[in-house]
Symmetry: C2
Subunit: 263 residues, 2 copies
Amino acid sequence: MLSVIKIGGNIIDSPSVLSQFLQIFSRIEGAKILVHGGGKLATHLAQKLEIPVQMHDGRRITDAETLKIITMVYAGLINKNIVAELQSLGLQAFGLCGADLNLILATKRPLKNGIDYGFVGDVQTVNGKALFDFLSQNISPVIAPISHDGNGNLLNTNADTIASVIATSLAKLMPTNLIYCFEKKGVLSDPQDDNSVILEIDEAKYALLKQNGVVSAGMLPKLDNAFEALRQGLEQVVICQADALENFGKPNFVGTSIRLSNG
Amino acid sequence: MLSVIKIGGNIIDSPSVLSQFLQIFSRIEGAKILVHGGGKLATHLAQKLEIPVQMHDGRRITDAETLKIITMVYAGLINKNIVAELQSLGLQAFGLCGADLNLILATKRPLKNGIDYGFVGDVQTVNGKALFDFLSQNISPVIAPISHDGNGNLLNTNADTIASVIATSLAKLMPTNLIYCFEKKGVLSDPQDDNSVILEIDEAKYALLKQNGVVSAGMLPKLDNAFEALRQGLEQVVICQADALENFGKPNFVGTSIRLSNG
């Protein structure tokens, strides 16, 4: 079984939380891939360098200078420090971005309503075979959320999307779980109650949850994407907190497991 | 035949010169590895971030903040842009630093005469086997001059040294040439005359050149290191300009070929 695990800013932004997570990650049995986002480091660096953050409708516009920051922070600073730390834990890890081994080929996002989002990539193809070869040798890839366009340009790409396309690509070659490490313990039935985790969601239950308005609006696109990935052959998509991973697969695991059918 | 090619600031600092070099590199026949230095980009970024450059006896001291800069610029910005450009030229490239795949394990340099050079690594072991596996699949590694200590720390390491230890490690597995791309056309017999390239140097000739004071003081450590690498099994060490690489192996090639004996 392959676990593709995605972590974001809530883990990366704290060295001690990251260290704790990497220890858990290194102990996960079976093949594993880590996809990391960027967190606040890139924003801090952009501020120090006085590169203005341009937003449109809540989305960051990646101009040439911002792309440089992202490449330095994601593929350099964060990626290589994670790899060095995993090596110290005895895990044979190595870091890549989407340009390496032609891992993630993308196209620059076309103008949308006249807005140029800059160097942002929409994924076209994934070289799952290259990752499979590493996994077969007990090597754990650590992936920075950057793709390339095949014409020499790097492109900023959403880390959740990168995790999803990598997992669905590998799912064609081996049974694969996709695990999103989240701030909350999972999908909550009551947003005010952190312990109201819905442990299992299948398509029928999801239809009900939507109908009853139980799932929050922010969670809907995440769940829609999860079901889309499941239809492409994933075993399950899991949403949980990073420290819950320690118990993944055990009866005391707390988190939301999403499958097409929990029958 | 494997070519391990090292490029430095004179190539990296100019996007057009770098592009021209990468085109030549992509056309080199046989297995190839590119080792790149950092150039002025790291210095510029440190200046912008107002991180003081600390020097001692002409050597930079790598404090924690400087190490971050180096990791971002070398392993991120430079490394990934080179890989993306090589991919656009049809070369299956991928970038790594010494932490990836435990490629270059080093120890933090001990205090020297009471001076702490900071996060600087002296190479202990090289995972040549990992690189050999890539080369066997027609994949070209692109290596940033950063090592790690096995305890989770990245270490700044001289790019000439990285190129040399990688070449000597691979030389145990396949015939290997080490090529330094240099500002000058090669080792000059007259430092004032750029065309006075000494085409071949073997141990006997080197002894004579030193005796006659022909080789400049700055060149001596480079040549000493070259002969040390040759004694560890390299075919030849070559010092030439980047654009001369186009003719490497042909009669019109201009550059200095260093062998133990040119018999």
